[in-house]
């Protein structure tokens, strides 16, 4: 719990520091906040957090609303790292935000606090409070560029659809609690089997999953994604793509495999269908797009589908593949958005044409974006390839039991092949674009350069030496049962 308290305190300190700092130093406040979060991130490897990994499952039956198990620690590290990189990106972006830069930083920190609470949520009340903390902060973060109509529009769309999904989730929680009388996940797991045929309970579960489906942008709750990704300020989009989506997945894993394992066993058909359609929808709709952020929006829908492969497999191999894939996705997507934030800084829209001549303007950024696209497409030796390999392996292993899994694996492969077209469209725009209107070199600040290089190193490391993270993920998912 001390980690969450420190993060909330940091958010408040950033807000207060804004009152006393002179205007020209407010920009640097973002770096200070990023440095503080980096310290907290490193601290999770040294202090009590790591020893809770070693504790056995007996410890968890007594867990209350808040659980600090291996899975929680894994996702806390994930969110902290994402927030550090997003804050560095936000400093770079701050001249486009205008008034209230410090509020922007502190809102990112508050959203991070919500994600940390969600990673530890072991109870519907905690889960609801955490998820709303994230969602409401993101309404503001999305519409932060008040002078830009697109940003406001994205905010309003996110608001209406986000509130709709919260309403579904709350009603689902009410029905689940009403039939079983349990809020706690472990207590619910003990009785859930008895309610497997209870219609009201099943309605509750479906409504709850609708709410989570919105968070992860799975079909048919994906319609907000492209517009919000396009309209929101780029650092917000990056945090939305990485943090908010991963929150949805950690809650989905906990709900399906800790709270209702007996019921989830029978739901593989539904998960297979949702995963397959999500992959196809995301990849097919990305094909005609010209706006880079919109392409990444559709690609994030497709990637939600890929990650759902691991959930649909309903095995521990699938669960650990989910964790691995999300880790690779963090580096890849943050690298892509960092490049967008830098290159498209002075342009009004993020059209692909803005990438023309990038390899002459900044070879580093061109290489980063190329690698990110290659990793998203799933080409060896980068992180995205190995993640997809693990997910497909987990699904195909389940094939003999249910032939639907073979169809799902085939769909996923088809999706990968379709996606090559638009990912390589981006690379083509960088290197082989005809029009080169602007060849001025792009200045990159030192922290941003470090962040970009770190993302690249992460992509290569996870792709070339996957062993360490695979072992860690396999150990972590044991705490789900």
């Amino acid at each position: 719990m001390s980690l969450e308290i420190s993060v909330v305190a940091l958010g408040l300190i950033v807000l207060l520091a804004d009152l006393w700092l002179p205007a020209e130093r407010k920009r640097m406040l973002g770096y200070s906040a990023a440095a503080a979060l980096l310290l907290l991130f490193l601290n999770t490897f040294t202090s009590h957090c790591s020893c809770s990994l070693a504790e056995g499952p007996d410890n968890m039956t007594s867990a209350g609303m808040f659980i600090q198990d291996g899975l929680a620690v894994f996702f806390k590290r994930f969110f902290l790292l994402a927030a550090v990189l997003v804050l560095v990106m936000a400093v770079e972006f701050s001249d486009r935000i205008g008034a209230g830069v410090s509020e922007y930083y502190s809102l990112i920190v508050f959203a991070l606090a919500g994600m940390l609470f969600a990673a530890s949520a072991n109870d519907f009340v905690m889960l609801f409070a955490a998820i709303e903390l994230i969602t409401i902060t993101f309404y503001v973060l999305t519409s932060f560029q008040r002078g830009r109509v697109r940003s406001l529009e994205a905010g309003v769309k996110y608001l209406i659809l986000g509130a709709l999904s919260s309403a579904f989730m709350v009603y689902g929680i009410a029905l689940i609690w009403g039939t079983t009388g349990k809020f706690n996940f472990q207590e619910l797991a003990q009785v859930a089997g008895k309610f497997a045929a209870n219609r009201v309970f099943l309605f509750g579960v479906v409504f709850f999953l609708v709410g989570l489906g919105f968070k992860i942008a799975a079909f048919p709750f994906q319609m907000w994604t492209p517009d919000v990704y396009e309209g929101a300020p780029t650092p917000t989009t990056a945090f939305l793509a990485v943090g908010s989506k991963a929150t949805g997945f950690v809650l989905l894993l906990r709900f399906l495999f800790t709270a209702i394992p007996d019921v989830a066993m029978h739901w593989n058909k539904l998960l297979i269908i949702v995963s397959g359609i999500t992959i196809l929808y995301g990849n097919l709709c990305a094909l005609p797009q010209r706006n880079l952020k919109r392409i990444l929006g559709y690609s994030s829908i497709a990637h939600a589908g890929y990650v759902l492969l691991g959930v649909a497999a309903l095995t521990t191999a699938g669960e650990s593949a989910v964790l691995y894939y999300l880790a690779g996705y963090l580096f890849t997507v943050l690298a892509a958005f960092a490049v967008i934030a830098l290159v498209m800084r002075h342009l009004n829209s993020e059209d692909l044409a803005g990438l023309a001549g990038l390899n002459q303007r900044s070879p580093l950024l061109a290489a980063t974006l190329t690698l990110a696209m290659v990793s998203l497409a799933g080409i060896p030796p980068l992180a995205g390839f190995f993640g997809k390999f693990l997910l497909l392996k987990a699904v195909i292993e389940q094939g003999p039991a249910n032939h639907g899994y073979y169809c799902l694996a085939f769909t996923a492969l088809a999706g990968v092949i379709i996606s090559l077209y638009y990912y390589f469209g981006v690379i083509r725009a960088i290197y082989w674009s005809k029009e080169t209107p602007d060849l001025s070199p792009i200045e990159i600040s030192k922290p941003m350069k470090m962040a970009v290089c770190f993302c690249m190193a992460g992509m290569f490391y996870l792709g070339l030496f996957p062993g360490a993270l695979i072992n860690y993920a396999a150990q972590v998912v044991k705490s789900l049962k």
Partner: protein, 101 residues
């Protein structure tokens, strides 16, 4: 007539359905937002009635959380709608068309 749990649940389901219908059919952002609040309150009604008939107060605690969150959501939401209105002079969904394809 004896009013039981089922009656309350039917009312709450009706409220939820009405709210959903409002969100889907109405085109004014404020009215859509009102309908969303109706949906949240239908969940509150379900929670309170379950709580009353099962003699378990946990549900009512959850209701307080929902009310608080709904208040925060309204504060942010109305501010957003007002900001959009200033920019666009309209609070209609049909006018939210600056992003396409």
């Amino acid at each position: 007539m004896n009013v039981g749990l089922e009656h309350y649940l039917v009312v709450s389901a009706l409220l939820f359905a009405l709210g959903l219908l409002g969100v889907i059919t109405r085109r004014n952002l404020i009215v859509m937002y009102m309908s969303l609040e109706l949906m949240l309150n239908s969940a509150n009604l379900a929670l309170v009635s379950f709580s009353r008939f099962n003699d378990n107060l946990n549900g009512q605690v959850m209701v307080f959380f929902i009310i608080t969150v709904a208040a925060a959501e309204v504060a942010v939401g109305l501010a957003l709608i007002v900001a959009l209105y200033r920019k666009r002079q309209s609070a209609h969904v049909e006018d939210l068309t600056s992003m396409k394809l």
